[in-house]
Every structure is written in structure tokens, then in C-alpha cells.
């Protein structure tokens, strides 16, 4: 039987059930639709946007209270502390990344889409970073003031967080995808994801420390960029694979 490339052949144009040429859309439109949906969802549950920032602020407040309010001491631990707090804030926001989509069947629809799944996953993660990682990167310098972070560190702090949280979103999404079908996935998610976060933390906090001590920040930031490049290239495939396993078994 002769076949067209789509595997179907239609003899009767009127009774055809195939999409008419010109009504199909390209990959960039699919990407835009996915991003638009995620943004709309985030807008409806506005509180989720603020929670990671509040978490960051609270964790930062705990340390002077728990250790000591001496500016010298705080300044010394500030880079690592801000990075750890931001990393934990990212981690906490991850559990919800796929959960509602899994429960309401949207994830199943996503898997049955003829569009490339890794790309759709990347769109989802991109929005997660945009609405969690970026605000954290912008707010962390404010928290730096509370911790007497030396003036030379602020710009690097924001830059390293902006770069690093993108990797954190991507790596964390793998864990979120693996645990989305599990009833108590939250704690397990931290166990799976935190060890994988360590390189990002080391290079991120390292960059800020270098900036404070007057060293070059370029190597650490370049390494963060390299990690991000690797994560962008590889993580969407792992996320897509993990989602297929979680949804289909």
C-alpha cells in the first residue's frame, strides 16, 4: 500500500480527518504555548512566587540569631550562607514542579504530544527558573546587606546565582520527575538532588568568595556556565525519560 510520509493517505478530501495544511504550528509556537501556560498557572497561584523569597529571608535571619551578630564573622560566612539558603529555596519549590500536572492528567497529554518532549520539559523548567531562580538572584544581594557582605561581592552574588540556579532548576527537575508519582516524594527528592547540587554550590559560592577577596571571578563563573551548558544539553532528556517512567511505569 503506497503511503505518504505521515503514514496516511486520504482519498476523499471532504471526509478527511487529517489536519488541513496550514493549520499546523511549528516548534517555536509550541514552546511559546507551553511557556504561556506555565506563566498563566504561576499567575493564578501567586503565593508560590513569594514563598521561596520568604524562605530565603527567614533562613538568613536565623544565622545571626543562631551564631552571632558580629559583622566580621557574618561577612566571612555570607557567600556560602546565601548560596546554601538560595539552593534550599530552589529545592523546596521543586516538589510542586510536576505534581499538579501529574494529578490532573496534563502530563499524560504532554507525553502523547507529537512535539519533542525534552523541549517541552525545557520550557517548563525555564519558567521555573524565571519565576524562582531569577527572583532569588535579584533578592539575595538585599539579604547580603543583612549579613554585612562586603561591597565587592554583590554583583558576583547576583550573577552567580542567576547562572547557578538555572543549573539547579534543570538538575532538580530530574529528581522531581523521578519522584512525581510517589506519595511522599519530598524528602526523597532532597536526598536524590542535593548531592548533585554540590558542584554548583562550590563554584557559585567560590565565585562570590573570590570577588570579596579581590581575586578573579572569571574562572568560577566560567565553570558555572560550563555546568549550565552541560545541564541544558543533557538534563531535558533525563527529565523526559524520568517523566515517561513516572507516568507509564
Amino acid at each position: 500500500m503506497p503511503r505518504s510520509t505521515t503514514g496516511m493517505k486520504f482519498t476523499d478530501e471532504e471526509r478527511s480527518l487529517a489536519p488541513v495544511a496550514g493549520t499546523t504550528i511549528g516548534l517555536s509556537a509550541v514552546w511559546r504555548a507551553q511557556v504561556k501556560r506555565e506563566l498563566a498557572l504561576a499567575r493564578r497561584r501567586g503565593g508560590d512566587l513569594l514563598n521561596p523569597l520568604l524562605f530565603l529571608a527567614l533562613v538568613v535571619v536565623l544565622f545571626p540569631l543562631g551564631i552571632s551578630p558580629q559583622p566580621d564573622l557574618l561577612a566571612e560566612i555570607a557567600p556560602g550562607l546565601l548560596w546554601v539558603a538560595a539552593l534550599l529555596a530552589m529545592l523546596l519549590s521543586l516538589d510542586a514542579l510536576f505534581r499538579t500536572d501529574f494529578a490532573d492528567g496534563s502530563l499524560e497529554q504532554l507525553l502523547l504530544s507529537p512535539q519533542p518532549l525534552p523541549l517541552l520539559c525545557l520550557a517548563k523548567v525555564f519558567v521555573h527558573w524565571l519565576l524562582t531562580g531569577m527572583p532569588l538572584a535579584l533578592c539575595a544581594p538585599l539579604m547580603g546587606v543583612l549579613l554585612s557582605l562586603p561591597g565587592t561581592g554583590y554583583l558576583t552574588l547576583a550573577a552567580s546565582l542567576a547562572l547557578g540556579t538555572a543549573s539547579l532548576s534543570l538538575i532538580g527537575a530530574i529528581g522531581a520527575a523521578l519522584t512525581v508519582g510517589l506519595p511522599r516524594g519530598g524528602v526523597l527528592l532532597s536526598l536524590l538532588v542535593l548531592p548533585l547540587y554540590i558542584p554548583v554550590l562550590i563554584f557559585g559560592a567560590g565565585a562570590v568568595q573570590a570577588a570579596i577577596q579581590g581575586g578573579g571571578t572569571a574562572p568560577a563563573l566560567a565553570l558555572l556556565g560550563a555546568l549550565l551548558a552541560l545541564a541544558v544539553a543533557a538534563a531535558p532528556f533525563a527529565i523526559a525519560g524520568a517523566l515517561r517512567i513516572s507516568v507509564n511505569g
Binding site: 487529517a18 507551553q34 507529537p114
Partner: protein
Amino acid sequence: MNVALDARQLACERDDRWLFESLDLHVGDGDILRIEGANGSGKTTLLKMLTAQLSPQAGTLTWHGRPLARARDAFFRALLYIGHAPGVAAALTAEENLSWSAAMAGIKASPAEIERSLAAVGLAGFENLPAQQLSAGQQRRIALARLELMKRPLWILDEPFTAIDRDGVAWLERRIATHCEEGGAVILTTHHTFQANDRVTSVVLGVAD
């Protein structure tokens, strides 16, 4: 020819337990295939195989003569699937849900077309309400509006009659019938007694254990 989905000697093993074996199926234009079976008999798993989500442990599945795993792209472009969970995000409006569904299917849908398909399932005037403000039945109707919005020859519906009222059931039965008259095909699982129709074939999955 729109639809040609064939299964030969299909078998499924889950967690070291055979759910079904030696299953032969053919779904062509105008066919309605109804999958029956008790809970745990492998209905969901069979649907996952027929939607190319799981590969069978034994036997072959073909789409227009090509192995289903190789023909996924063409197959997904011909498939409209409504699962047990209908894929309607509660926080989004009916209109937003449908335009996303259409985009994921790779179809361009104008607001007018979306409005028309929502009207067809009795949701005219509810376009811009978040789905969580609608009843469970209305939320399912949002999913059913996809049947109107997207032209797809093969429908696979998991329990499509749940949660909708009598009018909805009648509408869906009619819609399935017209779809088959137009040359489409439908595979569905349901406990609902379907109106006698010579095009309906049934597969009963044996109870495991």
C-alpha cells in the same frame, strides 16, 4: 484509509505477572473497539500499549503496517487521547486549557474555533472561568471539547462517560457514532452499556490470578 492499528499476539507482563497473552486486535476506519475487564485486568496497561507509551513484552503492534514504536510521530498526529484524568488544569480557564491542548497537538486553533467547540459541549459562556470553579462533569466536558476542536482519526478514550450527565452521555454517544461515520475509529474502556451498534466489537480481558 485513516486508521489501521493492528495487534498480533500481544502479551503483557507487569511485575513478573502476565496480565494478558495472545491478544489479537484490528482497528480500522469506522470501528469502535470496546475494552472490558474487571479492575486489575490490564485495561490501563493495554491502553498504554495502544497509545505507544509502553512496548509489549511479546507480540507486535503496527500502525499502517509499520511497527508502532517506529511510527510514533505519525501515530501521535492521528491520535486524540482522553485519559482517566482528563488533562484539564484546574487553575486555567476552559479557553486556556483548550488552546494549550491544541498547541501540544500541533494544531493552530483560533479563539473562535475554541469558543465553537466549547459551545458544542454545552459550555458556552464558561470560556473564561477557571476550571476549578466548574463542576467535575463540566471539567470533563472541557476535555471532551477536544473531540470537536481537533480533527484526529483515532480516538482513545479511557472511561469517557464518567462524571457527565445524561445529556452529556447522549451527546458523546452521538459524537462517537458520527466520528465513525466520517471514517474515524474509537477505542474506549467503559462500564457504560453502549447502544447496540454493529460496529462495536468488544475485547474482554481475563481476570488475573
